[in-house]
Symmetry: C2
């Protein structure tokens, strides 16, 4: 354990005690002030990001990752807009969840409290720095941020402004600390810091998730990997199903709630598969088909198409690629989703009430939709403000990780020198 | 991974899908029937337990552990009483937590659902088998139980009856499966079964907790270790404080919510330390004191007393031993608790409203009491029915782990072929 990291943990824990004592008004005013500061410092922020972008280009970072890294003036204002929205949300801490008077006269109250210290590991999106910091501060938590190497300058600039906002309010600067993103040893040591850190949020690819799951002594919120499905049932309205599939695949293919696999009921596949290819043809989508779907694609298919390869059904594409699979019925679709999905977001398109309810009951995912795009799974869309991540595990929090997920609760009992019988 | 264990996991997952579809009435009637069956089979159950007890005596198991292992007719009826109480509790699954209509018209609902498959590892208490199985069945979860080696026959007899109850209702027997308690390799393999198991509850000593934390790929609910404190503030009513400390130490010393350390405010220590020794003297308590407390113990102290040794402040005694430490003030008491405590249950005895609130705010434990014994931390005491464990971690569930803690939730969205803008 590097001495300095130990000190980071200790300082975070100390800061968390101060934050836990703040009222909602103090925390909100801190966030609003931070939003003002970020806008006031936009020239410096955009310059830092431009330098990151320059280096990313030189080092050959993919266009998709460069797009995520890029901080435009519009994105900066969208970020501060989110910050102000978080400030406006209700503070969940302090809220009484339940309580009762026990037979012994003990008055029991269960109340939401901050978690303490949260660590987040993420990759190239500077807005994540502000999203996570603001959600943590709003809930009275200290946070340790480990952004990607490629976004170092942007994150340092953002963190500097956050520290300034804390300083102005005479709050501990160690409430939000950043770690360098290029030290794997440091990451490993961080995962052992369970003495100080209460929750770990890894936002990144399967390799990072696996590394954290294997090595972390801190409870981990796994998530962020979306292998999402849309099942087109035989009763679905095909003309309306096409735009839903297009939305789920094309609107923002690089995010976790975009669709990976379309499961088509065999009875409508002869019509629907060619119609889908036609619909996606001018949108640049490539199809990866099973044997049945392949036999239904027209010779002059407007999409590039390929037979499905090993592992592609379990893969998060993050690109304009779509798996196309013909299934016998709803049960086969459900089985496919529970086997290959990541428990993120899955949808059924159907006119059958019975099938809709059955699908909702049997699909074991964080978000399950009837006649809607998978793209809705998102903290802001759900009205939760920003999100710290999307959890695909079932413990603690499932789906968009927002304010409530950054809290715990404490039981308090008030007695009169009460003893247990 | 042993092939058979893989099969256990797969069967549990399949059973969990059946259980998740049951209504509250079906689950309650299963539990009530199980209570009847356990009582009807009491002769066989007590005989199996007597055989375990015989072997435990031969193998030199400690009297404390033998007491935990022992199933008397009274304990059996207390167990079936708990079962009927669990049946009478409200089923948390199916309950809508919240929901809203999004701007796009999507109707969003967040609803409690079963977790799926739960694994529990525990030691010599046969009633835990029934407690955990009943809480899991009530919430629609399948469960894999790994009891201690020393309680093998009792657990097999109990599991046999549970399987019989499931069979009578035509429910999968694999809803409740048991693993042998003497195979460490099998335990290690179990911890890797995250594909099938959604939550792991280790109930046992620090070694088991540490083993699970290090090796489990399944999310773990850490807990069950109680290093509990009572701080006697200078304003406390000393005559009333004595019975609270006696209750917390003596009433049932072998359980996790009994007190380990009394922290005494220095201003009252000259009176209170000798009074406490006198009060505990005829109850067989041994005192482990710091220098200041030692100097205040009378020469004819009615308790055996020893200077505190390295590590004893961090140790769960589970016996009639009590650490005695004199502190400068409330802040030193809080610091002591947050450093040495296990985040289980801690109390302040005081007449100061301000100190009570400060203690509650700053002590980072699952249950914090004002003027009450730590012994109250318990699912049945809290009105939650039985408990599967007591969590000392902050994620997912804190304190007594009862029905709600065995559930997760699912977001469902109903649209009209809705797409995201």
């Amino acid at each position: 354990m590097p001495e300095s990291l130990e000190a980071v943990g200790r300082a975070a824990k100390a800061a968390s005690r101060v934050l836990a004592g703040l009222g909602a008004a103090e925390k909100n005013s801190l966030l609003l002030n931070l939003a003002d500061l970020l806008e006031a410092e936009r020239t410096a922020l955009l310059a830092a990001n431009a330098a990151d972008m320059e280096e990313a280009k030189r080092s050959g970072l993919s266009p998709a990752l460069r797009d995520r890294l890029h901080l435009s003036p519009e994105r900066l204002f969208s970020m501060t807009g989110d910050l102000r929205r978080v400030a406006a949300l209700e503070d969940p801490t302090g809220r009484v969840l339940d309580g009762r008077i026990l037979d012994s006269g003990l008055r029991l109250v269960r109340r939401r409290t901050p978690l303490g210290v949260i660590a987040a590991i993420y990759e190239a999106r500077p807005n994540v720095t502000v999203d996570i910091a603001s959600l943590c501060l709003k809930t009275g938590n200290a946070v340790i941020l480990r952004g990607g190497r490629e976004t170092r300058r942007s994150n340092e600039a953002l963190a500097g402004i956050i520290r300034g906002a804390l300083r102005e309010r005479k709050l501990p600067e160690e409430s939000v600390q950043t770690l360098p993103g290029d030290d794997r040893k440091l990451l490993h040591a961080l995962l052992r810091l369970d003495r100080y850190i209460d929750m770990l949020i890894p936002r990144g690819g399967p390799e990072l998730q696996e590394f954290c799951r294997e090595n972390s002594r801190i409870p981990v919120i796994a998530g962020g990997i979306g292998v999402c499905h849309i099942f087109v049932d035989k009763s679905a309205r095909q003309d309306l199903a096409l735009p839903v599939l297009a939305n789920a695949k094309v609107q923002r293919p690089g995010v976790c709630n975009s669709v990976e696999t379309a499961l088509i009921h065999q009875d409508i596949a002869p019509d629907f598969v060619p119609a889908l290819a036609a619909c996606l043809g001018d949108k640049g989508v490539s199809l990866h088909h099973d044997a049945k779907a392949g036999s239904l694609l027209p010779g002059d298919c407007p999409c590039p198409f390929f037979p499905l390869e090993e592992g592609e059904l379990d893969r998060e594409w993050l690109s304009l690629d779509l798996n196309l699979v013909v299934v016998r019925d709803l049960d086969e679709a459900v089985e496919h989703i529970n086997r290959h999905g990541s428990g993120h977001s899955d949808a059924i398109l159907t006119e059958s009430m019975e099938n809709a309810e059955r699908f909702i009951r049997l699909v074991d995912s964080a978000a399950v939709y009837v006649n809607a795009s998978t793209r809705f799974t998102d903290g802001a869309q759900f009205g939760l403000g920003a999100e710290a991540a999307v959890s695909t595990q079932k413990l603690h929090a499932r789906g968009p990780l927002a304010l409530e997920a950054l809290t715990t609760y404490k039981w308090t009992g008030y007695g009169a020198y009460s003893v247990r019988e």
